[in-house]
């Protein structure tokens, strides 16, 4: 018994300093946090969101940082949806997005008293790609894309498997040859995945009146999905009869390995070029956005200065420098006037 109690005493002696240490540290550090937190608000900018837009924001941040070395900036790219979650929690000041904000995201922001300002900063074309060695595919219509990549195409292992389906929808690329259909494309977490659905499948479902897909439509689940665009490029260039889609910048950077297919959105075959994408003549192109937390503008002059710089000629040129299509003059004017008026978005834009 004596041994037992002395043992406990020793443990208590060991535990005491640890307990004291934690107790001593905790309040002190909490205080420090709030102190630095107060400072940070005036000079720190947190940007998160789409990994597609991330390079633009990074390029702008680099230039801005060269002129304003005292401002703390962090830029991240976990994905558009993850970005909005952080943004609507008030954890970030600016959210990069490769699609427009959804109504439920606007509502989530509103619940936390956050009003987003929507600014278009560039345009990205989605390139439907195959290997540069593919010699049979050159132009695909939305019907072809549906027959090859849509939910009804599940299980098709060869291009010719899709012939019947393609005929049903008057797809003009059919009949296809009997070649293995190897698909590598973005996975669900990617904004490029969502954009493909919005720009190709949703309009197609509406046009064809496919009731069962009206609520929700997704590509066939049985393809090689990756969040890493380099993996997609490698997968697509690895087989001559491959198929997949990537952002235009990625196609451009790997032009020697990939072949971008022309797309027929109803007005004839259009190949993705900077001109056709900027004019939205190429049917699957998407605007790229940044969303700014309006409340932060008053509290944090750094955010105001940063977005001012973002939309300046020098800042906005970054979109083109990192491989995207610059906004046309009129679009840029519209973005700038939105910024000047500080108009917040309260309803989902139907773009």
């Amino acid at each position: 018994m004596i041994q037992m109690s002395s043992r406990f005493r020793r443990i208590a002696i060991l535990a005491l300093p640890i307990a004291l240490l934690t107790a001593a540290c905790a309040p002190e550090q909490t205080e420090a946090t709030s102190a630095t937190g107060g400072e940070n608000v005036s000079g720190a900018i947190a940007i998160s969101g789409s990994s597609t837009v991330e390079p633009i924001s990074v390029a702008v941040a680099e230039k801005f940082n060269a002129q304003n070395p005292d401002v703390e900036i962090s830029v991240q790219g976990p994905g558009t949806s993850d970005g909005f979650e952080l943004f609507c929690n008030g954890e970030t000041d600016i959210s990069d997005a490769s699609r427009a904000i959804k109504q439920e995201e606007i509502n989530a922001c509103k619940e936390n008293g956050i009003e987003p300002i929507e600014l278009t900063v560039g345009i990205d074309g989605l390139s439907v790609v195959t290997s540069s060695e593919n010699d049979f595919a050159s132009c695909l219509s939305f019907g072809d894309l549906w027959a090859l990549l849509g939910p009804e195409a599940e299980g098709f292992e060869s291009w010719s498997d899709a012939n019947q389906l393609a005929q049903k929808y008057d797809a003009q690329g059919a009949p296809y040859p009997d070649e293995p259909l190897v698909i590598t494309a973005p996975g669900e977490e990617s904004g490029t995945y969502g954009s493909f659905i919005e720009l190709v499948f949703e309009p197609f479902v509406e046009e064809q009146g496919l009731k069962e897909y009206e609520e929700e439509v997704a590509p066939r689940p049985d393809y090689q999905a990756s969040g890493n665009d380099n993996v997609i490029v490698e997968g697509v260039s690895g087989t001559p009869s491959s198929l997949g889609w990537v952002g235009y910048a990625f196609y451009k950077a790997n032009e020697d390995q990939l072949k971008a297919l022309e797309i027929d959105g109803g007005q004839g075959c259009v190949s993705p070029t900077p001109e056709t994408i900027a004019s939205f003549e190429y049917p699957i192109s998407r605007p790229l956005f940044i969303y700014v937390n309006k409340q932060k503008l008053q509290e944090n002059p750094a955010v105001q200065a940063f977005v001012d710089f973002y939309l300046s000629d020098e800042g906005i040129a970054s979109a083109e420098e990192v491989g995207y299509i610059p906004l046309e003059e009129s679009e840029l004017e519209a973005t700038r006037s939105t910024w000047e008026s500080g108009e917040v978005i309260t309803e989902e834009t139907g773009s």
Binding site: V58, N65, V71
Partner: protein
């Protein structure tokens, strides 16, 4: 060693007298397979090393120290570097050392020297072993829930402190296990001698057991550090910065409560970029990370060789 070698020859002699002069074909094949297995794993390692070094060496020859100092970027490959990554990794390492080592070693001392062999304590022991095998992403989720969200007041959210604490929790079970092994390796005669001259339990531990176990504890903890240095997944979850980071001249203390990045995170992000320039940078960053972990491992080996005592 001598006795083992002796018994080997004895068994060889017995085998020879049993089989006569016939060669042991099965044994020979098995030995060849074992050597083959060794070469396959070595070959994989060599191919990896060759691939990384051939891809990244140009960066060092062209930019040298500039690459080691350069800041995080995913746009301008010409000036991008691993400076912030190295700094972040070192910052996280310091937090891990300060948090996980004392906690882990203290827990190991308790488990080995004080805890009695009850069912509950055995349960704790088994659990710690299991925790050491839990995938790191799970610790990332834990860090996100506890250090980033729940303790946001204390850590400041997605900060270097939260990241460091997450990594500390990640290596804690490994530190406990290796320290406990080292303590267990100290012969009982040492403790008994201590008690024999009237030392208390704490005196025996402090002046005999711990010094004897120190080399082993040190080796194990340094090895666990190199695991922490290489982790990516949990850091991505708890908000390590991937794109661009400017600290705006914040002090070291303020950076503890600010954004951070780390070498493996930088490698992860660069590997997904389209430009060829960044592929070379990725390889170069991998070389830096390899060098860092190798240094940590070499340190562990040197410490062990220097202080290890045979009983």
């Amino acid at each position: 060693m001598a006795s083992r070698a002796g018994s080997l020859t004895a068994s060889d002699l017995v085998a020879a007298s049993l089989h006569g002069r016939k060669r042991d074909i099965g044994g020979g094949i098995f030995q060849a397979l074992l050597i083959l297995a060794l070469f396959v794993s070595l070959l994989v390692l060599l191919v990896l090393l060759y691939d990384v070094i051939s891809g990244g060496i140009s960066v060092f020859s062209e930019r040298g120290a500039d690459f080691l100092r350069g800041r995080l970027s995913i746009v301008t490959a010409a000036t991008a570097g691993v400076g912030q990554g190295i700094f972040g990794t070192l910052l996280l390492t310091v937090i891990v050392v300060l948090v996980a080592f004392p906690l882990g070693i203290a827990a190991a001392i308790y488990l080995e020297e004080f805890a009695e062999d009850t069912r509950f304590n055995r349960f704790i022991n088994v659990n710690i072993r299991n925790l050491a095998g839990v995938p790191s992403i799970v610790y990332g989720l834990l860090g996100l829930a506890i250090f980033v969200k729940l303790l946001a007041e204390f850590t400041g959210g997605r900060t270097a402190l939260a990241g460091g604490l997450t990594l500390a929790v990640l290596v804690l079970p490994i530190v406990i296990i290796t320290s406990a092994e080292a303590l267990r390796a100290v012969p009982h005669s040492i403790r008994e001698a201590g008690y024999g001259v009237g030392a208390t339990r704490w005196e025996v531990i402090r002046s005999h057991v711990l010094p004897s176990a120190a080399p082993g504890i040190l080796t194990g903890t340094v090895l666990s550090l190199s695991r922490a240095i290489g982790e990516t997944a949990p850091l991505l979850l708890v908000g390590a910065v991937t794109g661009f980071l400017a600290s705006g001249g914040a002090s070291l203390y303020e950076q503890l409560y600010g954004g951070y990045t780390a070498l493996p995170v930088v490698i992860f992000r660069w590997a997904s970029l389209p430009s060829q320039d960044f592929r070379a940078l990725t390889s170069a960053a991998i070389i830096v990370l390899l060098a860092l972990t190798l240094t940590a491992n070499a340190l562990a080996i040197i410490l062990r060789n220097r202080y290890e005592r045979k009983w």
